[in-house]
C-alpha cells in the first residue's frame, strides 16, 4: 500500500477471471463436493460481484472458478444469446478471462444459462452452468432452513407431493410449469432452477456436467454426467411437458420450447423458439415457419431475440 495512483500504462488489473485464487479454490472444493453428492446443496462463501445479486452472481462465480484461456463460452438468458444479461456476462468474461465467446451451442465448452437448457443436445466435455435464484425446492412450503435441512438429510420429501396434490386439486393438472422439482440420483430432491419443465427431461442422463450456483443464497449443487434425474409425479398422474398447437413461426420447429410473442395491438401473436441460436441454425438450414415468408415475419426474424 503505497498510496500511489497508478499511471496510465500501469493500470491495475484484476486477477484472471476476476475472482482471487483462494476464492476459486474454495468454490472448486464446493463443486467437487456437489458433484460427489448429486443434488445436495453445498454452502459456499459467495463473493461480492460487479453486478447485483439476482443477476446471476452464483453462475458467474461458478463459471469464473472453472474457466481457462482454452475455453469457449456461451451465455444465454431465457434461451437467447442477445439479451442484456447474456451480452454483459459474455463481455465480462471476454475481458477478465480472455476467453473466446460463441453463440453456437455445439462449439462451447462452458455454457452459462439463465432459465433454459439449450435445444441442441449437449455432448460429453461440455459444462452447463445454471444461475439459480432459490436453490431450496422446499422453501415455499417450509420457511425454516433448519427444518428443510433435516428434511433433505432424512429424505422426508412428502411435502413436495402435497404441493403437486394442491396443483391437481385446484387446476385439474400439475400447473407448475417452471422450477419443477426433480429427484436426483434417487436421493435428493432438487430445484432445477426456474427452467421450464419442458427442459427437465434433458437434465437426466445428460453427457454434460451440470453445475448450479445460487449467489444470494450461497449454495452450489451439481448433476454429474449420466445421472438419473426424475421429475416428481403421482403414479396415476405421470409427469408431462408443455405442448404447443403450432410450430415455431420462424423456423417451423415443432420440438423446441416456444415463446409467445405479441406482434400487434389487435390480438395478433406468434410462437417462436426461445433458443435463438437453435432457431437461427434451422433457418440457415432452409427450414421456414409460417411467418418467415411474409414481410412482418421477415422483420421479426431480423430482430428475433433482441425484442425480448
Amino acid at each position: 500500500m503505497t498510496g500511489q495512483i497508478p499511471s496510465g500504462d500501469a493500470m491495475p488489473t484484476v486477477n484472471y477471471a476476476y475472482l482471487d485464487e483462494q476464492t476459486k479454490r474454495m468454490i472448486r472444493r464446493a463443486l467437487l463436493k456437489a458433484v460427489a453428492v448429486p443434488g445436495y446443496q453445498v454452502p459456499f462463501g459467495s463473493r461480492e460481484m460487479p453486478l447485483a445479486r439476482g443477476w446471476g452472481t452464483g453462475g458467474i462465480q461458478v463459471t469464473a472458478s472453472i474457466i481457462g484461456p482454452d475455453d469457449k463460452l456461451k451465455v444465454i438468458d431465457q434461451g437467447s444469446d442477445d439479451t442484456t444479461n447474456a451480452v454483459s456476462i459474455r463481455r465480462f468474461f471476454a475481458r477478465v478471462a480472455n476467453v473466446e465467446t460463441t453463440e453456437a451451442t455445439g462449439e462451447a465448452t462452458i455454457i452459462q444459462t439463465r432459465h433454459r437448457v439449450p435445444e441442441h443436445p449437449l455432448t460429453a466435455g461440455q459444462i452447463l452452468v445454471y444461475q439459480v435464484p432459490q436453490p431450496e425446492p422446499l422453501r415455499k412450503l417450509e420457511p425454516s432452513e433448519l427444518e428443510t435441512r433435516k428434511m433433505h438429510a432424512w429424505a422426508e420429501y412428502g411435502l413436495m407431493h402435497v404441493r403437486l396434490y394442491e396443483d391437481i386439486a385446484r387446476f385439474g393438472h400439475v400447473a407448475t410449469t417452471y422450477s419443477y422439482p426433480v429427484l436426483v440420483n434417487g436421493r435428493h430432491v432438487m430445484s432445477p432452477s426456474p427452467i421450464p419443465k419442458f427442459d427437465n427431461p434433458k437434465m437426466g442422463q445428460s453427457p454434460a456436467l451440470q453445475l448450479f450456483g445460487a449467489g444470494r443464497e450461497k449454495r452450489i449443487y451439481a448433476i454429474p454426467p449420466w445421472t438419473e434425474v426424475k421429475s416428481l409425479d403421482f403414479e396415476d398422474r405421470p409427469f408431462e411437458v408443455q405442448r404447443w398447437d403450432e410450430p415455431c413461426a420462424l423456423c417451423g420447429a415443432a420440438d423446441s420450447y416456444l415463446d409467445e410473442v405479441i406482434i400487434d395491438d389487435a390480438g395478433g401473436h406468434m410462437f417462436v423458439c426461445s433458443d435463438s441460436h437453435y432457431c437461427e441454425e434451422r433457418r440457415k438450414a432452409g427450414h421456414a415457419g409460417a411467418m418467415l415468408a411474409t414481410s412482418t415475419g421477415g422483420k421479426l426474424a431480423a430482430s428475433n431475440g433482441g425484442d425480448r
Binding site: 433435516k150 412428502g158 396434490y165 403414479e235
Partner: protein, 265 residues
C-alpha cells in the same frame, strides 16, 4: 437417560412415562410424572392453567425432550424409549404411530394448503404416491369428521374454528395412528360446537379403538371422554384414578377445589 433404546415389555402397555420432568431454567414445567397408558384407553390430564399439562403433553408426544425421565412407546414387542432413538426415527414415529391435535389449529395445520392437502400430507409422508387413492382417502376422512366435501379444496383459513379443529383430527387419523394426543381440543369453541366435537371424538375413539391422551381444563370434557384422570398442580401429579372416582370422590385438597369450582348450569 438410560441409553438403552428398547426394553422387553410383557405387560402390553402402549405408552410408559417414568419420572418425566421438564424444567425451563430454574422454573418447573412438570416434575416426576409417571404413568402407564394401555391400548384403547383414554387418559385425561386436568389441572389449572400453568400446571404443566401442555408441557407434559409435548414431552410425551416427542415435541420437547424431557430434562429427566423416560417416555417409552410400544413398537412391535418392545417398548422404545423415544428420546434414546435418533431424531429421524422419532420423527417417523410421530408421523405414523401417533398424532397430535394442537390447541391452536394453526400449529397443527398448513393454513395455505387446502383441507384435502392437509389430510393428504400424512399419506404422502407414509409413501403413498397415487393421486386417486390419496384423494379418496382424504375425502372419506373429511366426511367422517363432518366437513362438507364441497369445501375440500378450500384452505383452512376460510374454515370456522370448529371445522379447523375437526380438520386437524382428520389429518391426524388418516394415517391410522394407535395413539392421539389432544391439547385442549375444545378450547375456544362455543358450547354447541363443543358438544358436537365431543360426540365425534367419542365415536372415533370408540370405533377405532384408539388410545388418547387428552389435556383439558374442562372437567365436563374429561368426564365425557376419558377413562382415567391425572390431576396436576404446579407441575406435579397430585391425584390419579378412574375418572368417575376422581371427579365424584376427590381425595386431594386441590382436586376437591377443582371439582367444587365447576359452575352448575
Amino acid at each position: 437417560m438410560t441409553g438403552v433404546a428398547t426394553m422387553p415389555a410383557d405387560t402390553g402397555s402402549l405408552l410408559e412415562a417414568r419420572l418425566v420432568s421438564r424444567r425451563y431454567g430454574h422454573h418447573i414445567g412438570c416434575e416426576d410424572v409417571s404413568f402407564t397408558l394401555w391400548p384403547g384407553e383414554v387418559l385425561g390430564i386436568v389441572g389449572e392453567s400453568g400446571s404443566g399439562k401442555s408441557t407434559l403433553l409435548r414431552c410425551l408426544a416427542g415435541l420437547d425432550r424431557p430434562t429427566a425421565g423416560t417416555v417409552a412407546f410400544r413398537t412391535g414387542d418392545c417398548m422404545t424409549d423415544i428420546f434414546a432413538i435418533p431424531e429421524q426415527e422419532r420423527r417417523a414415529l410421530m408421523r405414523t404411530a401417533w398424532g397430535i391435535v394442537h390447541q391452536n389449529p394453526r400449529d397443527g395445520l398448513r393454513m395455505s394448503v387446502s383441507a384435502g392437502g392437509n389430510v393428504a400430507e400424512r399419506l404422502v409422508d407414509g409413501g403413498e404416491r397415487h393421486y386417486g387413492r390419496i384423494r379418496a382417502a382424504a375425502s372419506e376422512w373429511l366426511t367422517r369428521v363432518e366437513i362438507d366435501r364441497a369445501r375440500m379444496d378450500e384452505p383452512p383459513s376460510r374454515f370456522s374454528g370448529g371445522m379447523q379443529q375437526r380438520l386437524q383430527i382428520a389429518r391426524v387419523l388418516v394415517s391410522g395412528p394407535r395413539l392421539v394426543f389432544m391439547d385442549e381440543p375444545t378450547g375456544g369453541l362455543d358450547v354447541s360446537v363443543q358438544a358436537r366435537l365431543l360426540d365425534l371424538l367419542r365415536a372415533l375413539v370408540r370405533d377405532l379403538g384408539l388410545a388418547a391422551v387428552i389435556v383439558t381444563h374442562d372437567l365436563a370434557v374429561a368426564r365425557l371422554l376419558t377413562d382415567r384422570l391425572i390431576v396436576m398442580k404446579s407441575g406435579r401429579v397430585v391425584e390419579t384414578g378412574l375418572t368417575d372416582q376422581v371427579l365424584d370422590d376427590p381425595q386431594h385438597a386441590y382436586t376437591q377445589l377443582l371439582t367444587s369450582a365447576v359452575l352448575a348450569a
